[in-house]
Amino acid sequence: MEPASPPAESSELRLIRTEQADGTTCLTVEGDVDAITGDYFRKTVMGLLDDPGVVRVQLNLAGLQFIDSNGVTVLVKAHRAASERGTNLRITQTTDNIRGLLELLGVYNTLSA
């Protein structure tokens, strides 16, 4: 399924999917996850887990500038859904600010493992 188009408003989110040689599917997340871009983020991330060709997922958060509480919920739900289908999903290259938020919510260790 094609993800919804990213909305053109005051928040921008770019999601770039690449396949690595070792079979890992990498999603590079750049910009903001908020109420404007949240649906696009959720559909794209959950969509990866609907793809039978996806066996391992890395979400590269180096370019993530902002994420709201609903965006964190998407990460947590995606991690749980991935575990249920036997897929490893983890976040990588989290910036200090985002890591601080995820630690405050008690989910950083789970999401990055």
């Binding site: 109420a35 404007i36 709201d68 509480s69 947590v76 739900k77 600010n97 938020l101 405050l104």
Partner: protein, 145 residues
């Protein structure tokens, strides 16, 4: 403590407060509000995680106003004493007791833990909510100059 009253009480910006920013907003303005807050926070010496958290707290409340408060509201920012003060007002149906209850503990597996984050980040949060809207006032300390 959260209160439930009929109508949000009019805001009170004290004498000597320095008004920094005001914006009537809808969903499309979320990003530009964050950018404006980042700029004002930086100008008052709020940086790094503290700045990120302040923007996050306000964004949770503007988002609440958009989702539960009739599609938008008004955000105002001022500096007074040793703190930034930010007020978010909407004219929606108000926060439910269940929503206020979620301030007590976070559960990132469920949507709706934003208010817990706001309370945890800001320390001082005044919520005035009722069937004609919600007004939230945040106090965010700034470093001494």
């Amino acid at each position: 403590m959260p209160q439930r009253t009929g109508t949000p009480q009019p805001s009170h910006m004290p004498d000597g407060a320095h008004r920094l920013y005001e914006c009537e907003f809808t969903r499309a303005d979320l990003g530009s509000i964050r950018a404006a807050l980042a700029s004002h926070a930086s100008a008052h010496g709020v940086a790094d995680q503290a700045r990120f958290n302040f923007i996050l707290a306000v964004n949770e409340l503007t988002t609440n106003a958009i989702v539960h408060g009739g599609g938008g509201g008004c955000v105002r920012l001022w500096h007074h004493g040793d703190a930034l003060w930010c007020e978010i007002v909407d004219t929606g149906r108000g926060l439910t007791p269940a929503q206020l209850d979620r301030m007590r503990k976070p559960d990132p597996r469920q949507h709706g833990h934003g208010l817990w984050l706001v309370k945890h980040i800001c320390g001082s949060v005044h919520i005035d909510t009722g069937e004609h809207g919600t007004r939230v006032l945040l106090r965010y300390p700034v470093p001494a100059p």
